[in-house]
Symmetry: C2
């Protein structure tokens, strides 16, 4: 059967950095994210008698590395369903590839949902989240709706993500500012393994529960300035850990910093906006709905900025009827 | 009597960040620096019967803030000498002001030496270093020659700097890259007081003795790659602490990062060069003598770079015969 699913990218507000089990993608800390309304992956899959999996990503055959990762994930799902059929997979992102948006979260969430449905499996949201996590850690957060917590858990079976609030709970935006077409030199996977080499990593880990509960409280109370301050503090904390790893990881580009400094300046002038960054040069500017358009307009004028994409809180992974093939 | 002294700026290789006593400028950790051959302050002073101190810095009357700081320091010296004479002070830097080179180290070292000599005091190098420290902490390191350690000490009388190696011990360079004319928004004095608000500060402090002894060993053995790695690690460590302070301190400009990334890239291509930064956007590129000219030439081509100044290890503070008035 042919099935198509769509899944959002998500921005981590409390970050996932450091794994306790690299093969299971078990994290060292709980994390928290918001799904993004405008950045998503759509994946259509059909299992058939084929010699090998046929995988097309954004109109091209997958690279060897991407292919292996997808096939490994399909193997997990085939094992659950008890089939040896190969699959035709066609996947498209709403955003340009290779500009610093990690597409593995939305990609593996969409693949997990589409593939399980195509094989007739009806997994619960929790089961889908657990399974997506095996493909790419942060993909587990792209399964539930809106504002999502990924609990660190104690073992494979209880490290999954769930929705804490639906997308319409709070109308805040993530204005995503793309600043680079370069592929990052150090992948997130390699980065995770370097995290514990920072002398600051253990302090970071110990402090995360406090920051996570601060963030959840500010979210519940819709206290935007506290929320924003925690979000920005968390991002700088992770990047401070990265930059003190051995070897040091510097994910920022000059334009990254230009955008950050501009946001700080606009905040000094009264606009409530806060920055966060994942393991890459893309800047995410978190702001209230009223300010998003003005902010996006201003950020588009910055020399070196490639694109600015204004996002609301988004839905999680869902099945859709329009197939890609 | 009229006396003139010259004192070098210094680049901290193990940084001074955080004070245990702000009025005495007593540090929380030992630090280590290299004096710079091409960046210095020359100061001429004459004590006379005047209504008030007349202070000219780089051809202009000192600002109120600078003036107060200089007068407070002159008062310390007048007290030691037992005089109430006011002074005429004329001071000049070899480098442009307001482009991100802290001139307080060279400035207070030169002032301390010139003023004590003009009042007929003959202080030892240790006494001069202790006294210069009262004017500006890092000024104590601009008193001795070459490669200098400032010991954290236990009290006022034993927190001073001394020369570990003369300037000609090792022919390494500091290629100073000026990238901004903007005055930094947060002064070092304010920054020092924020240091303990970083969750990482205590870890940094505990780790400094290890890093300092690694650096001194690499210096003694003239092991440049170890030396450079420690220097760069230390700089990123301090900036990670700064960026996780409350509020966060980001001293980098976009061009700062551009220069850093270029140095990393040149290193990937085989050039041994390492970066360090003080509490400002200026990048100091530490390299071996053979590579300095090529590096400086390349860095001058970077858009946004204001000036590149190639320094050797420099002498400490000394009296000279050529007066500024």
């Amino acid at each position: 059967m042919k099935k198509t699913a769509i899944a959002p990218a998500n921005i981590a507000l409390i970050k996932y950095w450091g794994k306790r089990d690299a093969s299971l993608n078990l994290p060292l800390n709980s994390s928290f994210s918001m799904n993004l309304s405008e950045l998503s992956t759509t994946t259509t899959i059909q299992f058939r008698q084929l010699k090998k999996d046929e995988i097309s990503l954004d109109g091209h055959d997958a690279t060897t590395e991407d292919r292996e990762r997808v096939v490994r994930h399909l193997d997990r799902i085939r094992k659950i369903a008890g089939t040896s059929f190969r699959a035709r997979v066609v996947s498209r992102n709403t955003f340009p590839t290779g500009v610093g948006i990690a597409s593995s979260a939305s990609g593996f969430a969409a693949l997990t949902l589409a593939a399980t449905r195509a094989l007739g499996l009806r997994l619960s949201e929790k089961q889908l989240s657990l399974l997506a996590r095996r493909g790419s850690g942060s993909a587990c957060r792209s399964v539930p709706d809106g504002f999502v917590e990924w609990v660190v858990g104690k073992r494979d079976e209880d490290s999954y993500a769930f929705s804490l609030h639906p997308p319409d709970f709070w109308d805040i935006h993530d204005v995503v500012v793309l600043v680079s077409r370069r592929m990052k030199k150090v992948t997130s996977t390699e980065g995770h393994s370097l995290a514990p080499t920072s002398p600051f990593f253990q302090v970071r880990l110990r402090d995360i529960p406090r920051r996570l509960s601060l963030l959840k409280k500010a979210l519940k109370e819709k206290d935007f300035s506290t929320f924003g301050r925690v979000v920005e503090e968390e991002a700088l904390n992770m990047h401070a850990v990265m930059m003190t790893s051995s070897p040091p990881l510097l994910y920022w580009e000059p334009v990254t910093l230009k955008v950050m400094l501009l946001v700080f300046q606009m905040r000094d002038e009264g606009l409530q906006a806060y920055v966060t960054l994942d393991a890459g040069p893309t800047v995410h500017v978190i702001c209230q709905a009223n300010d998003a358009e003005r902010l996006a307009r201003k950020l588009r004028t910055v020399e070196g900025v490639i694109a600015v994409i204004d996002n609301k809180p988004g839905k999680g992974a869902r099945v859709v009827e329009e197939h890609l093939f």
